[in-house]
Symmetry: C2
Subunit: 294 residues, 2 copies
């Protein structure tokens, strides 16, 4: 992913410390050395992040993304991000985006080991071309995430539900999916429930309702899924958060992976079995998601 | 941890490509910006690492550490590290170590996103003062690692057993232990077996034998534990790799956390219950570990 713009947030404010925000946003060459080796993001994947989709310079779901960044920071005992400072950083970066689809990434690291403050930065890149995934769909394989459904609630130190920089397993799952001839993975629990994809939420249409796994299962609350639920509800359609048995992936009459940049990608196969794609609804959802939203 | 020396390995060789190794080791200021924002270590904790203890300029267990680095790289589908290049980097850094206890850290990152090669670096720091932990011991709490004992073998994409940079959970577990008034954590499986500490191996003396959890349970094979086993066996004592039920932590007449820098730290309490410390044997083990070994 070629980056077109980057800025450091320096110093990182915490909570209500905002002074002259603009002076804390320092544009840098995205290909120049910028981080110390001691930065805990690089040493231990110790930080949190968000990826925001941007269309024609307009960022989508900034509020939910910043709320989730703050939630992740809280789960990781990081200082509460100053949302005004982050919002200003997003605006500053979006001013560079230009026409077409872009992605901006927000990273809050625990900082340099032994140092006084977190480090933080925001980058801008051209989004990959996701037209084929949105049109033809993605073939997924189910992969065991290793834990039963009740673990996240009783073991918060596992940071399930935080969007941390410790993403090596997410990337390994996508490699495993490709080894199996698929495009993406869907994580499932050891006791047989659907969780999420490594970088997306799962949405099923089943018995006339739109269902997504409940975020209490230690998964991220998808910002795109939130927008889609609001959109479907406005159209009078039923939505629900539920514990979703793996068998429902076969029972569903349509299913999607939802994420901030690829948007709605219909699932065209699960573990090698074809799943029907609702092209009309998928186009409609992506039309909505590509529009100018909050 | 204040770093005293650092070098980049550039370019990173793979397998048998060694040419002029020395010219690929580039000393840098450890506090200067060195990594691009796009480095996947910082973006996704996507890489592997090792920490090596150094005493009076002599690095310990270099062979086992490099073997484990290669094993971790293999589990993560990273190019096989050129061990001659890494060995040369370790030697170069150790030449700067001077007297006393130091720690060197080896990091192999997947590289800059979209870039041609991994990035890699080695740092040198003065070791923290571990005298109190070695003498008085550490109080541990047991924390659920969230998975049953049989998961690592059937779900290799979870990277259990690889020493990856995705260490946020390990750090969160240590914070949770401190919140509970302890010094460190011991991870256990959902089905009640002892695994490892977030940054150390567990060793128990029970029924006259020295027992450590089997690395097949998705834990790291401890390099310090390997040296201690060899030492104990030379003294005619029995050692074993086993599945260790959590109840054995109470049954043991002594137990230790073993790691490359803190070395043998006796466990003085488990979940608030005192455990007897064998001071004589602990001193003997640390005397051996601090000596000039392979």
């Amino acid at each position: 992913m070629a980056w077109r713009f980057a800025l450091m947030i320096d110093p990182v404010a915490s909570d209500d410390e905002v002074g002259d925000v603009a002076s804390t946003l320092r544009p840098i060459d995205p290909t120049a050395p910028a981080l110390q080796l001691g930065d805990l993001s690089a040493q231990r994947g110790d930080g949190v992040f968000e990826s925001i989709g941007v269309v024609d310079g307009h960022p989508h779901e900034v509020g939910p993304h910043l709320e989730r960044l703050a939630h992740s920071a809280s789960l990781c005992d990081l200082p509460a991000p100053d949302l005004a400072q982050w919002r200003a950083a997003v605006e500053r970066v979006c001013a560079e985006a230009g026409p077409g689809e872009s992605v901006i990434k927000l990273i809050l690291s625990r900082g340099v080991e032994g140092g006084p403050t977190p480090t933080a930065w925001v980058t801008l890149a051209t989004a990959p071309d996701n037209a084929a995934a949105r049109r033809d769909g993605v073939r997924v394989v189910t992969l065991d995430r290793g834990y039963p459904l009740d673990v996240p609630a009783r073991a918060p130190w596992l940071l399930l539900g935080a969007k941390t920089l410790s993403y090596a397993v997410n990337m390994a799952a996508i490699r495993e999916a490709k080894r199996r001839g698929a495009d993406d993975a869907v994580f499932v629990t050891t006791d047989g429930f659907v969780l999420e994809a490594p970088t997306a939420s799962v949405l099923l249409r089943i018995d006339g309702r739109f269902v997504t796994p409940a975020p209490s299962a230690g998964i991220l609350h998808g910002t795109t899924q939130l927008s889609v639920f609001a959109h479907l509800e406005q159209r009078g359609l039923a939505t629900a958060y539920e514990n979703v048995p793996v068998a429902d992936l076969e029972r569903a009459d349509a299913a999607w992976l939802m994420s901030s940049v690829r948007l709605a990608a219909p699932i065209s196969a699960v573990d090698g079995r074809p799943l029907s794609v609702d092209h009309a609804l998928t186009d409609e959802l992506n039309g909505f998601l590509l529009g100018r939203r909050g």
